[in-house]
Structure formats: structure tokens, C-alpha cells
């Protein structure tokens, strides 16, 4: 059987199917609507303008500082959310393809990630507007995205595959993940600052056990001109390495069973 990295490389070299079909999914979704793809932008716009204003007062942060913080955290969270949600049933939704002999599983993983990424890019236009507007953010912060976003993406690849594989074997996975993610949004420091729970307290420790926090922090902090906590950098580095090793192992061991499970 082929390796995870080998299959992934082949998928990346032949992006026609997954890139085109995910783009078409997105484009056709809004085809019946008058405003079309603008609907990809409005939810983020509403979220930031309304919730951002309300919560900056509730939390007692200045709005110029809070909006960029919330914006970057929120779109990163939404990107991860879509990747994970999509992957938990990805092989079952592509059953017809797999049964027809299209068994390069990484194609379907990349299709889900591409869809989430397109959404992310549209939502990001709003966030970039906010970042440019805010006097607290500098251009050098924005350029850090060129480094940090690929890190986030690379983590989504292994995570999507592992969740997809587990989801193919155990259909409970997608329900479980839905439940966790609803709570996760409020538990992860997106609406609030992690400084509320300083290091050394039990709550502070628990908040830092959340892998989503570290993934977001590594993207968010540099944009706002700060250095991420050292813990976050170490955590993300570990996640990337361990995650990829796990994906490679799971692929070698279990990928051939996926058509039988679904």
C-alpha cells in the first residue's frame, strides 16, 4: 500500500479534481441568491461589527485592540472548525467515488480543506480591513501570516485525515466532534484573552491544555505584533510532528479498510 505522504504528493500534483470541485461547490451554493458570493463575507462582517463592539465593552478592552484580536481568532477558528467538521464524515460522503475505484483518499481530504480555505480567504478580507483600520496593527504583523498560515494548514492536513479515518470506522465521531466544537468556541480564548487565566493557576493550565488555543495563538499573536507564548510554539511544533507521524502510521495500517467501513 502507498504511504500517506506519497498519496498526498500525488494529490497535490493533480489538483484538478479536488480544487475544481470544491470551488464549484462554493460557487454554486450561492447561485440562487441575489447577493451571490458576498454571502461568504457577510457572516464574518456581522460577527465582527456587532459581537466585536458588544464584547469589547463587556470585556473592557478598547475596541481598536479587541476587533483585530477577535477577527483573527475567529476566522482561524472557523477555518479549523470547517476542516474538522467536514473531515469527520468525509469518506462516507465520497462513498460513491470510492466505490467507483477512486481510492486516493487524500483527494477527498484536500477537497474539504480547500473548501474551508476558500471560505477562510473570503472571511479574511473583512479581517484585513479591520487590521488596516486599527491603529494598533502594523504591516509587519500582517506579513507574519505568510509563515504562520502554512503551519496552520499543515496541521489541518494530518488532523483532517486522522479524524476522517476514525470517522469512517466509528460514525459516532461526527456527533462527538459537533458537541465538542460548540463548547470549544467559548472555551478557547477567542472572545476573551488568555491573560484572564494567568499561568500557574489551575484554570490557566487547563486553558493551555487546549490545542486549538495554541494553533490560533501562533497565528494571532504575531499579527498583533506580539510574540506567542513559548508554550504555544512548542505545543504547535510537537503537534505538527506527532500528528504527521500518526497520520502516516494510521494510513499505512488502516487506509485500505476505509472502503469496507463506509
Amino acid at each position: 500500500m502507498n504511504s500517506f505522504t506519497g498519496q498526498l504528493a500525488k494529490s497535490l500534483r493533480q489538483p484538478e479534481f479536488w480544487a475544481y470541485s470544491s470551488w464549484l461547490d462554493l460557487a454554486t451554493k450561492y447561485r440562487r441568491t441575489r447577493l451571490g458570493v458576498l454571502w461568504l463575507v457577510f457572516p464574518t462582517l456581522m460577527f465582527l461589527l456587532v459581537l466585536g463592539n458588544v464584547y469589547s465593552h463587556l470585556m473592557g478592552y478598547p475596541v481598536e485592540e479587541y476587533l483585530p484580536y477577535l477577527g483573527v481568532g475567529y476566522v482561524c477558528w472557523r477555518f479549523m472548525l470547517q476542516c474538522i467538521n467536514d473531515s469527520s464524515s468525509v469518506f462516507r460522503t465520497h462513498k460513491a467515488f470510492i466505490m467507483d475505484g477512486r481510492v486516493r483518499l487524500t483527494d477527498f481530504i484536500l477537497r474539504g480543506i480547500a473548501k474551508a480555505l476558500f471560505n477562510f480567504v473570503f472571511a479574511m478580507t473583512v479581517v484585513v480591513a479591520v487590521l488596516v483600520w486599527s491603529p494598533m496593527v502594523e504591516w509587519s504583523g500582517l506579513s507574519s501570516l505568510l509563515v504562520t498560515l502554512p503551519i496552520l494548514l499543515v496541521n489541518m492536513v494530518w488532523l483532517s485525515f486522522c479524524i476522517g479515518l476514525i470517522g469512517a470506522r466509528f460514525p459516532d465521531t461526527s456527533e462527538f466532534i459537533h458537541t465538542v466544537l460548540v463548547v470549544g468556541f467559548l472555551l478557547t480564548p477567542i472572545l476573551w484573552h488568555v491573560e484572564r487565566f494567568p499561568l500557574g493557576t489551575t484554570r490557566g493550565l487547563l486553558a493551555r491544555l487546549n490545542p486549538a488555543f495554541h494553533l490560533i495563538e501562533v497565528v494571532r499573536a504575531p499579527v498583533l505584533g506580539q510574540m506567542p507564548e513559548t508554550h504555544s510554539i512548542i505545543a504547535v511544533a510537537l503537534m505538527t510532528i506527532v500528528g504527521w507521524l500518526m497520520a502516516m502510521y494510521l494510513y499505512r495500517r488502516y487506509a485500505r479498510f476505509v472502503p469496507l467501513w463506509i
Binding site: 479534481f17 464549484l24 460557487a27 470510492i98 467507483d100 475505484g101
Partner: protein, 259 residues
């Protein structure tokens, strides 16, 4: 090209499946409803293919025969590469095309042309190849005038025609087919038959699962008969059809006069 072949050696396939343990027939309707929601499914394994060995050389057109549930579709899925064998080996050399699902991967909200791109990229074609084929696919499906419309506005027969035109637009070394699809109006069926004959003639190997003896005799030269996951007969197509009929009659007799 010349080494196109299929070689299957002691192929076995075990598949997990789930059974509901509750027996709905001898209880009241309330417990039937509760049972549907509450009784935990049990995971079992079924041996769908058992020690199947055969070889198909280039130039052969193989009829795949067997009663419902005998393992025809499963065998085709192994040959198409979807299922990896539990035991034994399967060797398929040559480009292959499975014609098992005509509506595969269509997007109802996309236009016909977009759907052609969608399906063709799913078949692994490059965009430049596809651009050259869009016209001929549309004209074969007789859908040129509506090419800009959304797929969901088409009738199911028209959609079938489009799926057929895309699926058969490429000539492959090995063609795997499940039943002969017969939707569409009479004129199109005739056209589809001509193209299939053409494709079959161009392929090096055809494996066709069907119950239509007339067609099998016309298209195929050899036959494989499956029975309960085992290969019951392999040989010339007329003998294979006879072997299949024998199995069929034997089981019918057994039902009439249980021993």
C-alpha cells in the same frame, strides 16, 4: 499495451457489517419502535468472496454471471481497486474504467458544462483535454441547446444521457460494467449500444455483469459464474450461461422439494 491483463489468485474478501439483534416481527409496535432506536448494532464479518482465482488475458470479453448477492458487484469493486483483498492477490495491468455509477459526483446547481468538467477531472483528465471534449460530449448526449442550464433542471433521462456520454468519452484498456444501463428513449438506447460496442471493441478487456443472456452472448466470449462468493464455473460464454442456468434450476428444485 500488450501486457494488459487481470490476474486474480486465491482472492478472499471479508467485510464487516452490522446487524440489529432485535426481532421486530413478534413484538408489539411500541417495542418495535423502541428497538429500532435502542437495540445496539452488532458487528459481524461476512466472507463475500472466497478463494476466487482466474486470469483474463488481453482481448477477452468476460460475462460475469451469478444470482443476486452472489458477489458480482463485489468482485467488480475489487477489480476496480475499491476493495483491497483480505487474502490473495489481484493484479490489474492497464488503464481501467468502471461504469458502475452514471450519476457519480454531479452537482445539481452547476451548469452542464461545469458538470462535464467536474466529472472529467474526477476521472483524472487534464483541463486542456476536457476542453476539447465538451462539444462532442454535449452533442452525443443531444444536450447542446441546454448546456448553460443547471443540471437540476434536466430530466433524469437527460442526466443519464450526460453521465453516459462522459463516462464513455475515454477509451480505456479495461472496462468494468455492472448491468447494461437502459434508461433514456429508444433512439438514445440504440446510440448508446453502438458506442458501447465501439468501446468494447477498442478495449483490451471487458468484464460485464448482467442477466441479459442475449446481450452477453453477443458481447462476450468467456464467462465466469459466481455462486455464494465462490467461482462456480469459468469457460466459454455459452457453457457459462448453461452452468448458471443449472445452478439456478438446482436451487429452484431444492426449494420446491426440500430434502
Amino acid at each position: 499495451m500488450s501486457d494488459v491483463h487481470i490476474k486474480v489468485d486465491h482472492l478472499s474478501l471479508e467485510v464487516p457489517y452490522f446487524v440489529q439483534t432485535g426481532n421486530a416481527t413478534d413484538k408489539g409496535w411500541l417495542s418495535t419502535l423502541l428497538g429500532a432506536a435502542m437495540s445496539p448494532p452488532k458487528r459481524r464479518f461476512a466472507r463475500l468472496l472466497d478463494g476466487v482465482s482466474f486470469e483474463i488475458e488481453a482481448g477477452n470479453r468476460v460475462a460475469l454471471l451469478g444470482r443476486n448477492g452472489a458477489g458480482k458487484t463485489t468482485l467488480l469493486r475489487v477489480l476496480s481497486g475499491a476493495f483491497a483483498p483480505t487474502n490473495g492477490t489481484v493484479e490489474v495491468a492497464g488503464s481501467r474504467q468502471a461504469l458502475l455509477n452514471l450519476g457519480l459526483g454531479f452537482n445539481g446547481e452547476a451548469t452542464l458544462v461545469e458538470n462535464i468538467f467536474l466529472r472529467a477531472t474526477a476521472m483524472g483528465m487534464s483541463p486542456s483535454d476536457i476542453r476539447g471534449m465538451v462539444g462532442s460530449i454535449l452533442s452525443f448526449a443531444e444536450l447542446e441547446e441546454v448546456s448553460g442550464r443547471r443540471l437540476s433542471t434536466l430530466s433524469s433521462g437527460q442526466r443519464m444521457r450526460l453521465g453516459f456520454a462522459i463516462s464513455t468519452s475515454l477509451q480505456q484498456d479495461i472496462m468494468l460494467m455492472d448491468e447494461w444501463f437502459g434508461a433514456g428513449d429508444a433512439a438514445f438506447i440504440e446510440k448508446a449500444r453502438l458506442r458501447m460496442n465501439d468501446r468494447v471493441a477498442g478495449s483490451r478487456i471487458v468484464v460485464l455483469a448482467s442477466h441479459n443472456f442475449m446481450m452477453l452472448r453477443k458481447v462476450c466470449n468467456t464467462g465466469l459464474v459466481m455462486e455464494q462468493g465462490k467461482l462456480a464455473y469459468a469457460g466459454p460464454v455459452n457453457d457459462a450461461i448453461q452452468a448458471y442456468k443449472d445452478i439456478y434450476h438446482a436451487t429452484k428444485k431444492k426449494k420446491k422439494h426440500p430434502v
